[in-house]
Symmetry: C2
Subunit: 418 residues, 2 copies
């Protein structure tokens, strides 16, 4: 069973739009037990769309096309498909009525050229599109399935999941599927992870385990193949539990959960409030924390203390601390955390100071040195990290370390893993 | 003259990596006067790579392949290419020496399987790769040019620009090229832009003009075709000057310049210092300003005043202002700007307060309402904006409005265009 993807549009070919649909579709099709062997892109050109469809019919059981279903003259997919399959196009009155109703709701008269979106090749199944004007089409020919969908991601994605994949699985009697789950860690090295779970990911076959470093985090991807969704979920749950046994609270979240959301969840659970003082991260820690809806429950304030003056006057960092240890030092980070906690009257204070670069580095304090300080009722701590990358990456990774240090403090686990 | 792109790699086919190379290459090739008619992706599979190369030879003059040049058994591009062209692979001692030297610099012995990266099909030109171990290859066969490059973007990009494009232009005697330049505006509507420059973009053919709305900005893309780079630059300069005549300082930057960099440039020129007080943007304005290297020259501090307490105590917003007008109001924004300027002792104070959502909206103060305040020596101002989108988009667009309001103040132009 092989599938082929064909994305249609001159703007894709010219690179004016990056094609994110094809990757997303490949993943969903693989999960649904369909292997994709070819992906192609052609422009809005009759001859080349025709050639691409004919070629796919020689080598794939399923051809999934996106794009070229719009109302303009450039949009040719529907017409070329009908011609290749030698089927006449007929006006579908229900589709036309749905398109007209859509324009009526917006109080705009339907332009005449939108009529072509209601044309359907004889024998095609119509794929309903509640999010746009162009419906999708599914044709069966010589044991093959050909699908056309709109290129707009918000219209294509539900159509693929809800209408296309079930029909294809049904048509070819596919029972298997592949489900993935990602466990996320931060502040742990790949070699440390290998020591803790390497025996699993060298021996596990189904579910299998893959490890991927990604923007200051290491992700563990578990992938399970099977026929029965309940059985797959049970196998993933069992492996998840085994990995949790080994890694415990080093796992901060699953799948789409971000580190700032994991930290926010813990702060809310503990009814703890937080104030942040930032130098090298320049407001990024505060901005990430406040990306989370409901963060005003625990995030009280942030201070971006870029000048020495702001560090001393506003945060009360002693002049001697700066003189003795420098603006970038664990001592200053600690004093900033203590200072912002006192100023804001919060349960916790978190602080960063470092050299984001590209200038300002010295042999002892190179670009990428970031110090994080933390203060709580009855104590404080600070650590330094040596981070790689350009200015924006150092800021991002510094923010990661600050958030992870806070998360570990809330869970009572040490940071020495980093 | 038609070119075809073939990206090779199972991880691309499965969608685990989004292929950004193909879009970038398409753009650069179009600029260099080469039209791309097909883009395809295949996995690391001998038969399918073979078929894709043979197909391309029937329909393209230039085939550009990326990926599959690594040292592992999966990496097949070099071997399949040699087989399709029926040319033996020979070990190139210079390449081998370069790879060995690269490992020696890292003090690692060269693994035996890296030897295959030194194999070259007979008659191929070697494309030097100073940034990685795998060199690229360029073969000429029957009037066609076939190119293989590594898939790592940082290795591929300079190789395409410096070695591949000049050879292809030379091989096919291409003289034309296409050059684009983007002028960026913020806080102006598309209809306002149309009133000011619509007569140009409806009539201009070469250079042509396109308008694209993008993340709280509107970009004007000028595109010029021609043979002579000097003549092209002169035509773009002339059109640029005409658009500047109409739009003046509404244009904040060109090409890759960001709004925060344009604001930073003005602050530095005027030797003005800035402090920022943020509520709904939650540190994003500070973080964007401090993304710019050298921002410590003008950015003194930021306050993320998420709580009412922080707004009153730290920034000195009068309790009556909050009681009479609410936390989200132009009056509070103005008082925050005045307060942060006074606290920091800077030339300028900038403030935001708003409803980022998804909760917290009311009929009078809906999600997306953002108020921006500005304070300077001898005056202050505030404005409200109604912005669309999810929480992160409202934050981003709110930050855009704040930065643009500051930029216009520095240039003495009013904000009513928004």
């Amino acid at each position: 069973m092989g599938a082929e993807l064909l994305t249609i549009g001159t703007e894709l070919l010219l690179g004016q739009i990056i094609d994110t649909n094809a990757s997303w579709m490949s993943q969903r099709l693989a999960e649904a037990g369909l292997d994709v062997f070819f992906k192609s892109t052609v422009g809005d050109n009759w001859g080349r769309i025709d050639a691409a469809i004919r070629l796919a019919l020689t080598r794939a059981d399923v051809l999934i096309m996106t794009g070229g279903l719009g109302p303009t003259e450039d949009d040719l997919t529907r017409e070329v498909l009908a011609a290749v399959l030698d089927r006449p196009l007929r006006l579908d009155p229900d589709i036309l009525a749905a398109i007209e109703a859509r324009f009526m709701r917006r109080r705009i008269p339907m332009p005449e050229n939108n009529r072509k979106q209601a044309m359907v090749p004889e024998g095609a199944e119509v794929l309903h599109n509640p999010r746009g004007t162009a419906p999708g089409l599914l044709c069966r020919a010589d044991g093959r399935v050909l699908v056309c969908m709109p290129g707009v991601p918000s219209e294509m994605k539900p159509m693929l999941l809800e209408q296309v994949i079930p029909r294809i699985r049904d048509a070819f009697g596919i029972r298997g599927r592949i489900v993935s789950r990602v466990l996320k860690t931060c502040g742990i090295s790949e070699s440390m992870l290998d020591e803790k779970i390497g025996d699993y990911f060298r021996t596990m076959r189904n579910p299998s385990i893959g490890v991927l470093a990604h923007a200051g985090e290491i992700h563990i991807r578990m992938t399970c193949k099977g026929d029965d969704p309940t059985e797959i979920a049970a196998q993933l749950d069992a492996l998840d539990a085994k990995l949790c046994e080994r890694l415990g609270p080093l796992i901060f979240g699953r799948d789409e959960e971000k580190l700032e959301a994991a930290v926010g969840r813990l702060l809310r659970e503990r009814r703890a409030t937080l104030a942040v003082a930032e130098s090298c991260t320049g407001g990024l820690v505060a901005s990430r924390l406040t990306d989370i809806s409901g963060s005003s429950e625990y995030f009280e304030r942030g201070i971006v203390a870029y000048s020495a003056e702001a560090k001393q006057r506003l945060l009360g960092v002693p002049a001697e601390t700066i003189a003795d240890h420098g603006l970038v030092s664990v001592e200053t980070a600690r004093a900033m955390a203590v200072g912002v906690r006192r100023l804001a009257g919060t349960a916790l204070g978190l602080a960063t100071t470092g050299v984001a670069g590209p200038t300002g580095g010295t042999p002892e304090k190179p670009v990428g040195l970031v110090c994080v300080g933390l203060a709580w009722d009855g104590g404080d701590a600070a650590r330094e990290f040596r981070l790689l990358g350009e200015r924006e990456q150092v800021k991002y990774r510094g923010a990661q370390m600050a958030l992870e240090m806070l998360r570990r403090h809330l869970l009572g686990i040490p940071m020495q893993e980093a």
